[in-house]
Every structure is written in structure tokens, then in C-alpha cells.
């Protein structure tokens, strides 16, 4: 599974961190950690099979719907 985060839409609520702490973190300023990984507005990465359920949950709970499962 691959997941895409739209960093323009993401408002750093942090709900994804509760659902999938292995995949998402907020940095010390409360911002989505993945912002540091790229200057692009979108970022995508592979999800290991054991974290797929967490990723699916994160995509559903994201208040801004900034996460997309790409399969």
C-alpha cells in the first residue's frame, strides 16, 4: 500500500498520529513531521503491511481528509 499526504490540506490536527504513530508524527512545533521531508505540497510513501490498518484508519479520521490511500 502507498499513502499520499497533501501538505497543503493538512492542518496539523495530529489525529493520524493517534491512529498510526509508526507512520506519522508531529514535530516539536506541532507541525506534521513529514513537512521536513519535502518542499512539495504532496508527499507519498510505502506503508509496510503491518501498518496498513493504521494507515486506513488515519485516512478515515483525518479531519481535513488530507490522506489518500493509493493501493
Amino acid at each position: 500500500m502507498r499513502i499520499e499526504i497533501d501538505l497543503l490540506t493538512c492542518q496539523d490536527f495530529g489525529e493520524c498520529v493517534l491512529s498510526a504513530p509508526e507512520l506519522f508524527q508531529l514535530d516539536e512545533t506541532g507541525k506534521q513531521f513529514l513537512r521536513r521531508q519535502t518542499s512539495e505540497t504532496k508527499f507519498e510513501f510505502d506503508v509496510a503491511i503491518e501498518y496498513e490498518t493504521g494507515a486506513e484508519e488515519a485516512a478515515i479520521v483525518c479531519p481535513m481528509q488530507a490522506l489518500t490511500i493509493l493501493h
Binding site: D6, T9, V61, P63, Q65
Partner: protein
């Protein structure tokens, strides 16, 4: 100028709830970039996206609006209906921190993303039953035969209302809901029926709680009943929260599904796009939420006098944060009047923001996504029969009365 005259007329019609296309009014008021005092409604109206967003996070605007209700009751009624105001004061949507933080935490344990995922197969099963029943008719009303039964069943399931008692529970909750749904002196007239329903609701839950404590189930009644045994919630708080969750989650989801279906029928190109690309359902539902937001107005009460965007707000004033107007703000959404099921990004504010952000958003999204896609999978040739959208005269909700469709079912 004639626009001023038109504005007054529009505002009068609006206050009666009869402005069925409120968007030109919203646009006119949004252009002023300041809160607008409506004498008719006795409320400040806020229309711009950033202002509404700001308002939802400003602690000077509180959710506790009990004062507004008490103030409208006669002194005798204030005493007579004390229990009703007390009941309302424990609704999550009427609480502020620190109490709100605790109550929200209790609900959040249960109404979570996990719940939405767990409910998916239940939603699928329900929708197949609903569609099978619809399929035996050539014409149906999408409100009563489609958008109504799904969220009713799902929310009752989540709460733990026994099968067969959903309508009884809904009648009671609706009767209570009439009271907070009104403002002004009319509250004196609607309070007696609401108070009576509350007494019956207490009895309804007394019975359920005894059953669930003896035989626990995986539902919200069991969870809250256990918290109340542990002394973390009073019995009244529990009854309030259960009633509130129903009222927060039923009509809103019904309207999301119904409004989405209406939008697709009135935008046939977008409908065909979705039928050809059902994977677009995620962004399509977000666009339903933006374009015809089920909750148009999110209410707050001014906690203390302060100046906001050039206007002096007084302690105790009502403020209406108009999500429906914010969601058409041209500064945020390019071409806001265009209904675009692929719109991206879509930062709409239909579920609110910040501390009171809708707890049921994941569930509502999943319900609407499954319902709409399954409908068009089964009835791709369905046509709308109702000639123009039949909006009900309610200012704070976008709620259709009927939505007749011919199914054109070939099998």
C-alpha cells in the same frame, strides 16, 4: 441604492427561514468583511471563511448558550423548565472547557475512526436491504426511502437502541430537540412538550441502563452506563450525551446523503463522472459537504465584551458562524459556485473546527460514500422527478422535504 433595499428584503425572508437560495445574500454580507447584526434574528452573522474559522477557535465565543434560553423564558417558566435547561447544559455542543474536555474524551473513546471502520460492513448490509426494498418500486422518495433509514439504523446501533424501538426513541429525541432548535419568546410555547419528552426519555434510558449493566454490549449506552457507575458521569449527564449524539448524528447525515444525491441529479455531468469513476466518491462527498453544508449556522454566545473586526460585541450576544457562507468564499475556493466532485484542495468547514470539531465526521463520511456509490451501482439510470429542490424553511439546516426519483430499473 437598490442593493440596500434588496438586502433588507432578503434579510426579512432569510429570518423567516424562507430564503431557499441564501447564497447571494451570503455573498453580499461576506463582501462587507465584518460581523453583521441582524435585528430580526437578534444575532451577529459572520460569513467569511477566515472569520468563521477564527470564531470557532476563539474562547471569547462560548458554546454554553443556556443563558440565551433562560433569558427568553418567563420567570415562572424558568423555574418550571429548570430540568430542561439543565439537560441542555450537558450536551457536548453546549459545553466549554474544562467540562467539555472531559465529556468529549468519554465520547471520543467510542465514537472514533475505529468505529467508522467497524461499521462499514454494517452500513453495506443496511444499504443493500434499503436498495432491495426500493427496487420493487418504479419511483421512490429518496428522503424517506433512502437517506432516512440508513443513518437512523446506524446511529441507533451505535447508541445501543434495541431493534424495533428506533422510531420511539427518535420521536422523543426530536421532541426534545425542538426546544434548543428555537430562539426567543417562542421557547415558552415549545418547552412543555420538550419537558414531557425529556421525562419519557429519562425513563427510556433508565430501563436500558439496567439491562446493559446486567448484560453489557459493545455500544455507547453500555460505555456511558459503566462510567456513571464509576461515578465519572451523573445519570443526567449520561442521558444528555446520548440524546445529543443522536440529534447531532442523525438529521445531519440524512441531509448529507440527500443533498449529495440532489446535487448529482442537478449536475448530470458530475453524476456521470462519478458513475464512471466511483473511486472519486471521497472528494465527491467533501464537495457535497462544502456546496450544501447540512449545518449552515454554528451558534456561539459572546462571553465578554470585545471588539471583533470593527464591531463591538457585547457579553451575552448570540453569534451565528455561517459555515454555509464560509464554504462559498471566493478567497479560499476558486470558482466557489461551481460544483466539482474532484475539487482539491477542499478545506470546507462543514464539520466545524478546533475543540468542537465533529466527532462523527469519519462515520458520516463512510455512510455517505457507501450509500451514494451503491445507489448508482444499482440504479445508474435513475432520474430526478421533483422539479426544483424542495428546501424546508429552516434557517440553520439545509434540509430537503422530498426528492422523488424514477429508478428506471432494467432488471
Amino acid at each position: 441604492m437598490s442593493t440596500e433595499f434588496d438586502l433588507d428584503t432578503a434579510l426579512n425572508v432569510y429570518a423567516k427561514g424562507e430564503l431557499f437560495n441564501p447564497y447571494p445574500l451570503y455573498e453580499t454580507l461576506r463582501a462587507r468583511k465584518e460581523p453583521f447584526w441582524s435585528e430580526n434574528l437578534g444575532m451577529w452573522l459572520v460569513h467569511g471563511f477566515t472569520d468563521v474559522e477564527e470564531g470557532l477557535s476563539d474562547p471569547r465565543l462560548q458554546n454554553d448558550r443556556i443563558l440565551g434560553y433562560e433569558r427568553s423564558l418567563t420567570p415562572e417558566n424558568r423555574i418550571k423548565f429548570k430540568a430542561l435547561n439543565e439537560h441542555l447544559s450537558h450536551w457536548l455542543g453546549f459545553e466549554d472547557p474544562p467540562v467539555h474536555t472531559h465529556s468529549r474524551g468519554y465520547l471520543k473513546e467510542y465514537i472514533s475512526g475505529k468505529l467508522a471502520i467497524r461499521m462499514k460492513p454494517v452500513i453495506q448490509k443496511q444499504i443493500q436491504e434499503i436498495l432491495a426494498k426500493a427496487g420493487s418500486h418504479s419511483e421512490i422518495d429518496l428522503i424517506t426511502d433512502f437517506a432516512y433509514p440508513l443513518p437512523l439504523k446506524i446511529i441507533c446501533d451505535l447508541l445501543g437502541i434495541e431493534s424495533g424501538r428506533e422510531e420511539e426513541f427518535k420521536e422523543l429525541a426530536d421532541a426534545i430537540g425542538v426546544y434548543p432548535g428555537n430562539v426567543g419568546p417562542i421557547l415558552n410555547d415549545v418547552a412543555p412538550a420538550a419537558a414531557l419528552a425529556l421525562v419519557k426519555m429519562e425513563a427510556f434510558f433508565d430501563e436500558m441502563v439496567v439491562k446493559r449493566l446486567a448484560d453489557p454490549k459493545d455500544d455507547l449506552i453500555t460505555r456511558l452506563a459503566q462510567l456513571s457507575v464509576e461515578g465519572l458521569l451523573s445519570h443526567q449527564e449520561m442521558v444528555s450525551l446520548l440524546t445529543f449524539v443522536f440529534l447531532a448524528g442523525f438529521g445531519t447525515t440524512l441531509n448529507l446523503i440527500a443533498n449529495g444525491m440532489m446535487l448529482l441529479f442537478t449536475h448530470p455531468e458530475e453524476k456521470e463522472k462519478l458513475i464512471a469513476h466511483p473511486e472519486m466518491i471521497g472528494s465527491a462527498v467533501e464537495e457535497f459537504l462544502r456546496y450544501e453544508s447540512p449545518i449552515q449556522i454554528v451558534a456561539r454566545l459572546v462571553r465578554e465584551d470585545f471588539e471583533w473586526h470593527g464591531k463591538q460585541l457585547g457579553a451575552g450576544d448570540y453569534v451565528g458562524l455561517i459555515a454555509g457562507a464560509a464554504n462559498r468564499d471566493e478567497d479560499i475556493f476558486p470558482d466557489p459556485e461551481r460544483f466539482d466532485i474532484g475539487r482539491e484542495p477542499n478545506r470546507h468547514i462543514a464539520f466545524g473546527r478546533a475543540a468542537h470539531f465533529c466527532l462523527g465526521a469519519p462515520l458520516a463520511r463512510v455512510e455517505a460514500q457507501i450509500a451514494v456509490n451503491e445507489f448508482f451501482k444499482k440504479f445508474p439510470k435513475a432520474e430526478m422527478v421533483t422539479p426544483v429542490p424542495d428546501w424546508l424553511p429552516i434557517i440553520s439546516f439545509r434540509h430537503l422535504g422530498t426528492l422523488k426519483v424514477k429508478l428506471n430499473n432494467e432488471n
